[in-house]
Symmetry: none
DNA sequence: AATGAATGAGCGTTCATTCAT
DNA sequence: CATGAATGAACGCTCATTCAT
């Protein structure tokens, strides 16, 4: 991947995430990336291809998260890690997550596949911890963490620490 | 308000919510509403005015929710109502809430004002219930319910009942 | 002619003259005149009909000028009057003359008919004053006065008095 | 500048001059120039940018006139040149001058800056020729020549030669 | 690999005009 | 006589995309 291609991907991610996919023109991406508009189409085919490439670049983040959880066999520690990693999303990644979360609301873009695997992993975790209704517990924590990410990305709340320790207490971590 | 105006508002709500505001053309709204495109501008000034009119029509929903909570003085019942009303969003209102939630991610549209009032109400509730950290508790439940709405609107999960009773147990309602 | 019709004509004149015919919408005329847009079309048929009505209302000004000159049989006095009336266009009439002069430049609107009669009258005048080339003299004064009106309407120069007396001297009036 | 750009400029000049700026659509310019409408905006930004480009192309004409007068130091010859160059506007330039003169009447376009410099030059000229009121004389000749251009562009009179020699006699040239 | 001229479809918006009331 | 809802065509402009170089 050439430098120009990387420029394009970086600026596309930034603009898609902050201005929205539909509201970002390929011309603007090209201008900000310092390349000609034609180059975007030579490399990525069309605008949607550019979006796909942007997302593909971030898929490794998702995979890394899932793998790191999968390799933690102690259920208590796994649960702790699920919770803590949400609170500790690195701020350099905000722009990527913003895009992921914003795209969810676009009918034709929503893809549920990732969350099913995560759900299974969490059900397993709560089973190992002998919770009464592991499936509902898994659903609860997913819903909760989803809302938490939304809050972090949109409202940037300040009391995250207290919220984090509250959750630790609640799950006796 | 004439019938055509109502048609426009209804179709605009639907399309803005499902396809996104930016990705919905006024031409499409007009076509689906069975009116000329010019009529949209005559009645609502411009596309943004149409969005405002759509939102204004739903503001009463938001106000009604807040008021019904404010008038419930028993803290336990108030908390119960906050939780239950989230699970019981009428499905006719889905499209409206989808729009509200989708708009949050649109840079220039995000308005936090509503949530501050709700937060204050919840802090007060948890204080009355003698929770250890009422502010964090309020934040937690808001984040949780926000994630819940997202799940309901996007993933339409089937185990909502079990999730609801789990929450009741957790808050001893 | 009802009061509303007069309102329409007055505002149309003002707007056509100051903003231009093409750049003035019938909606704006209606709004400023405090009537519904439909009324303009009921009374004047279409936008061009409105323009015609506006111009017709001012034709009497042109006729009055021509008549007053025609009835002055003393050639020296007639010439004097031609010159002086140009310098003394009442400022309430500026807006009308602006419209006339602006319309000249619109291909489909230019109508030369008035100036031919005036030319004939001036040729006759210079003949009576035994000028060497009465036709060229008539042309000269017409061109001059035309430029003068343009200057008055567009540049609003301050030294008009000195220009007026210079012309009087030059024609020995 | 590509051939298409030149096509656009040429047709825009023609249409703006003959139909008027407001009454000429960018679609019509594009159609007549044999290019897509989008190209106009790519090259000139917007309709006003197109007008500016059209005018800029002709500004050299204005500058050339002023410079040639400035470099003529003999006042009698300078005056003669002012007069004669007006009579001898090349007919290929008519369309450009038509645009300049038509734009004067467009409220927001009128720019007096050029005429002030010319006025100063003429005042100086009449001073050198010991005329009684050089300022009024300058004003007079400007007004006269302005009317003359108007006549040439709009009425295309046939007796221009006799008018020209009449003026020569009057100024003793 | 990279540019930038060029396109055509679509955008949000304005407009003159019609018509039921 | 007068309104104002409604229309459809056109407007200025932006867009994703193509292609010769």
């Amino acid at each position: 991947m050439t430098e120009k291609q990387e420029n394009i991907l970086a600026k596309a991610l930034e603009l898609f995430a902050t201005k929205g996919y539909a509201a970002t023109s390929t011309a603007k991406v090209a201008r900000e990336a310092g390349v000609s508009e034609g180059l975007i189409f030579r490399h990525f085919g069309n605008k949607e291809g550019l979006l796909s490439a942007v997302l593909a670049q971030g898929q490794e983040k998702l995979a890394a998260i899932y793998n790191s959880l999968e390799q933690e066999f102690n259920p208590r520690k796994r649960l702790e890690r699920v919770i803590d990693m949400t609170f500790e999303v690195p701020s350099e990644e905000y722009v990527f997550w913003r895009l992921i979360y914003a795209l969810k609301w676009q009918t034709d873009a929503y893809d549920d596949s990732g969350s099913a695997a995560m759900k299974a992993l969490l059900v397993e975790t709560f089973e190992a911890m002998h919770y009464e209704d592991p499936s509902a517990e898994a659903e609860l924590i997913m819903v909760l963490l989803d809302g938490l990410v939304t809050a972090i990305l949109l409202r940037k709340p300040k009391e995250l620490n207290r919220l984090q320790s509250l959750l630790h207490r609640r799950y006796m971590l």
